[in-house]
Symmetry: C2
């Protein structure tokens, strides 16, 4: 997992607890000792220690020790810095390094091919499209392909040449003019474009 994503998760986890939010609420107004927080929030001291440890881990809260008494205060700069960082990441994306945009296609191809030949043709439109996109990549680009030549090429991957040829045209991967076939130009990488 990316460090960025990890930080995001930690930040949200730190704030995803009622007791900790209430502690922050108190500390936003003023410094307080552990005992005060316990009394104010009606929690036992160990509970307060536990939560303060989590908040200190992220640097959201700082401690000043004075004898046996520990004074806690919010670190507003840190809160603000994290909040800012989070807002910039949030909608934009933990996306980048984290995921493989072709994972779905790869998964489909692993199920329906052995890398070279087609084991079976998926019934599902979505999966079939993945397979056809894979197949068309194995045909020469920019060449006129008479039906017999095309059949021979498809035959290398699957015996049912007629069905696959029809599907390739139907789904827009091939064009046909006067019984001569040709690879269609790719529209876009965005799968949302093909319905």
């Amino acid at each position: 997992m990316s460090d960025d994503l990890q930080l995001l998760v930690s930040f949200f986890k730190a704030l995803a607890d009622e007791s900790r939010l209430r502690i922050i609420g108190v500390l936003a107004a003023r410094e307080a000792t552990g005992g005060e927080l316990a009394a104010l929030l009606d929690l036992k001291p160990p509970t307060v220690t536990h939560h303060l440890a989590k908040l200190r881990e992220l640097g959201l809260v700082a401690r000043r020790v004075e004898g046996t008494t520990h004074h806690y205060r919010l670190v507003p700069e840190r809160v603000e810095a994290l909040a800012k960082q989070v807002l910039s990441s949030e909608t934009v994306a933990a996306t980048d390094a984290t995921l493989d945009h072709d994972a779905y296609a790869q998964k489909v191809l692993r199920s329906f091919t052995d890398g070279e030949t087609i084991l079976s043709i998926p019934t599902s439109r979505r999966k079939r499209d993945v397979l056809l996109a894979w197949l068309v990549e194995r045909l020469p680009e920019g060449e006129d392909l008479p039906e017999l030549a095309l059949n021979a090429l498809i035959q290398r991957h699957h015996p049912d040449t007629a069905a696959l040829r029809r599907e390739l045209v139907c789904s827009g991967f091939l064009t046909r003019e006067r019984s001569v076939y040709r690879r269609a130009p790719k529209p876009t990488d965005d799968p949302a474009q093909r319905g």
Copy 2:
């Protein structure tokens, strides 16, 4: 718990999970179906459903059903609205309705008085101060108090008048000039002021 605080907790909980953040990461770029998300994030469909349900609960994600296929998309307005609301509350305060700022004092007083008489005098400086503040409230304000009169008043609450009188002066609750005592003006409500 206040609704405001409850919403805050829900919001942070919704985002305090790696899988959900990654889902949001994908949906920030484009719409996706459940199966795609499962393949992209390497999770099983039930897991994806589970997380999407949580995100939809808060309105962060919306669903469009098309046959047996469910398309999910982020609701950026909702994300932004919540983020804005959260930032305004965050440092400022879940404080208000949630806590009783006198809780600590009340707790101390319940332990060391029966409401009128002092059961015992706390050794702890902090607690003793709470008790002395309570005691001084029971003395007349703006009056000169000769030592004997003061003793009589203190006597109503505890027999050890000498000790309490000394503490009241020492902690600044009373002033003494030429053996005549008087309530000191309150400095501030902030307990941090007295140390």
